[in-house]
């Protein structure tokens, strides 16, 4: 016998509203659960996204090229020759959005009052900007104007620590390849702010060619930083760059350069799923309860249907359809609620009250929720699939009643 789908669906829908209070409460529970799944996930995604963006901006780039010894011992002795033709060809290719070469060495910066250890970056300002340095972060003066700009740009916090001002001179000391002290005076031409205070304090920018001359390293650089098209897929880019460089040169994606970030991404994916399943489990008790009650109230009715020749499979089907309707309706409200609560937060949630705590985690003090389609689909799938599986129990029980016995119940 075929199951009369249309009639059964109608029946299921009517059954759902026979006890409208119970159905409404369950709908509300499902909606709140779905809302929490989606909303919380979008906040977490927003935070991790932000951490990754910050991380990639700080590195910078999706892929970096160094000599193999540089990362362990970031010395001027472990420099890299300027990119050769083979490398330039890949860098000019379709996969690459932007690239820049930088000289990056530890140094000491002194004003007439104070001194601090910093990371000295010799950069091409144009490339640096393309890789993520935001000119809008310059709060005083200007950013460098070329690789041969004789000025220096330092962080706001460092400026304060050194008790110096825009236009004043500071002395930068580092070591040349023979471990002699190389020093040079620079005029402070710009002051930058950064989301993370530690960057303001520890990073200074100068022209690449100026630093190359100061350290006497010719055209050597420390690293090439490359920005690809998609931060989620840095490996293919890394592989094609790796093919053009000698074996003693290391080409690493950000996933390897910053394992903390990569781990965060992975842990977050796991956590999102765990969170959704936990919420569902909390819901499931209520769901089973609701369906069980619905079945109990209808024992006589089910007995009658069976006596009239309806198959157990049709009974199971009917209960499942009822459950599916409940779930779908609850999800509909839950999704609307989630989207409705995320949209007003598009401009970001201000977390400046705990900014230093967020900094410790590597995130900034404004949180932008990120709603991803896969997360939305996952949340709905978890509820529907697990919901149907959970409903099998009451549905199966309903199908077990023997017509005569069931009819006899009151």
């Amino acid at each position: 016998m075929q199951i009369p789908v249309k009639a059964m669906s109608k029946l299921a829908w009517r059954n759902l509203w026979r006890n409208y209070r119970r159905t409404l409460i369950m709908l509300l529970a499902i909606a709140v659960g779905a809302w929490a799944m989606i909303f919380m996930t979008s906040l977490l995604r927003g935070m991790v996204d932000d951490m990754v963006k910050q991380g990639i901006r700080a590195l910078p780039g999706h892929v970096q090229v160094h000599t193999a010894a540089y990362r362990d011992d970031p010395s001027v002795n472990h420099g890299l020759p300027a990119p050769d033709e083979a490398l330039l060809e890949v860098l000019g290719g379709e996969q690459v959005q932007a690239w820049t070469s930088r000289l990056k060495v530890p140094a000491m910066i002194s004003s007439e009052y104070e001194n601090r250890g910093v990371l000295l970056l010799g950069v091409d300002p144009a490339g640096e900007t393309e890789l993520g340095f935001d000119d809008g972060d310059i709060v005083e003066g200007r950013f460098l104007e070329g690789a041969d700009d004789p000025g220096i740009v330092i962080g706001r916090k460092l400026l304060q620590r050194l008790e110096t001002r825009l236009g004043k001179r500071v002395v930068v000391m580092s070591q040349d390849p023979d471990n002699a002290v190389a020093d040079r005076g620079f005029k402070v031409v710009g002051v930058f702010q950064a989301e993370l205070e530690s960057r303001e304090e520890s990073i200074v920018y100068a022209g690449r060619e100026v630093i190359q001359r100061m350290l006497g390293v010719g055209s050597d650089i420390s690293e090439v930083a490359v920005l690809g098209r998609d931060y989620k897929l840095p490996e293919p880019l890394a592989a094609s760059i790796r093919a053009t460089v000698p074996a003693d040169v290391e080409v690493l994606s950000w996933l390897k350069l910053d394992p903390y970030l990569a781990t965060m991404m992975a842990v977050m994916n796991g956590f999102v799923l765990v969170w959704m399943v936990v919420i569902f489990l909390a819901l499931s008790f209520g769901l089973v309860n609701t369906l069980m009650m619905a079945v109990f109230e209808r024992v006589r009715e089910i007995g009658l249907m069976r006596a009239l020749g309806m198959r157990p499979a049709a009974i199971v089907y009917q209960i499942l359809v009822e459950s599916l309707m409940l779930l779908a309706l609850g999800l509909l409200f839950g999704n609307l609620l989630a989207i409705g609560s995320i949209i007003p937060l598009q401009d970001g949630i201000d977390l400046s009250a705990v900014s230093e705590g967020m900094e410790m985690m590597g995130a900034s003090s404004v949180l932008y929720p990120v709603l991803l389609w896969p997360d939305l689909v996952l949340a709905n799938a978890v509820v529907i699939v697990l919901g149907i599986i959970t409903s099998l129990l009451p549905a199966w029980r309903a199908a077990q009643y023997r017509p005569v016995e069931a009819l006899g119940r009151s």
């Binding site: 011992d73 007439e112 009052y113 000391m173 965060m264 936990v278 705990v354 705590g357 967020m358 410790m360």
Partner: protein, 419 residues
Amino acid sequence: MKPNSGRRRAFGLSLRLAWRNIWRQKRRTWLTALAMIFSNILLVFMISLQFGSYDMMINNTLRMFSGQIQVQRDGYHENQKMRQVIPAIGELASGIRERFPQASVAARANAFVLVSSQDRSFGTRIVGVEPGHEPGVSTIPGLVREGRYLDNPDAAEIVIGSVMARNLKVAVGDELTFLGSGREGSFAAGVVTVAGIFDSGSMDLDRSLAEVPLGYFQEAFDMRGSGHVIALLLDDLNAVDGLLTPLKALVGEREELVVLDWETLTPGLKQAIQADMTSAWFMYGVLIVLVAFSVLNTQLMSVLERTREFGVIMALGIRPRRLALLVLLETFLMALLGLLIGALLGGLVTGYFAYAGFAYPGMDQMAEKFNMPAVIFPALDPLSVMLGPSVVFIFCLFAAIYPALKLYGLRPVDAMRAV
């Protein structure tokens, strides 16, 4: 018969009635209780885990180097200028030590220098410490893996972190020169021998911390007996607040000095905990609300299906108030069941992890960022066990209010006719 004992008997009766009532629908009661038990187990575990990790974060971070309390020159914490000194720091530290024997007290001075080995130079921070007292406020002296910690207050010796040693390419016994400026901006330089290399597990400290004896530091940087920081460490973090007031009174004699507690010294730590706490309570809140819905549904159903019965009882002269209390009592018993079983099972599960330790994949990477070991031991105590389940309990009682109120609108005649 005293009126009081009559009321007590009536209550005893209600209690027995409520207990029987909740078992009239065994399966439904268990399912509802299971929802509570499930959430309670989860809450006990998560809250204990949170408390455990916060304790560890705080302790590891503070005990590693910064201490729980610091005395500084007013403004030093913000600007860290070389000339913002505590004059005669040794005497002040001794004074504090005498007055508060329960605390470990050590004086320090900081400078930023360019340190050079044969092959390498780095800009870094160098800290002058009292070799005799530093081990009391910091775990770094105990983490020396090669060589030894400082022992002579005036020796030209240095202890550095393992990453710095690797970067400078030095070993114990090698010489380092440093170059910086003294207290008033004068030129300061010196040659020191590497006495020891420590390995703290914190990348940051291993890369950027170097310690020399305070006496030697004061001479090299022209400090004239002054320093920058007096660090204090107590055995018990909770005792910190009690020490602050008398310490402030003692230090207050010199008005240019301030007393800072760990929340001011490491605001990131406190805020990271706050941020984590907020997101955790959001999640717990959702869980608790869902359980409350479950209870609401069950109790509403149980009231509605007894409409006839209640109608009869009311026709016999029982007031709606008694019936509403009965419904609340039923909920109370059910919630108590969930509370007891949930807290017990939660306690057992958590107890196991408190003994065996808990870790999840990827945790080691994250733990390093917060100065934590890669295994967390949940902190199992009465508070962490009872906190979550108690909140669930209260919310479940709240959830029963609506069904209980429904009884007030019941009219016996109509109710008796209901199906």
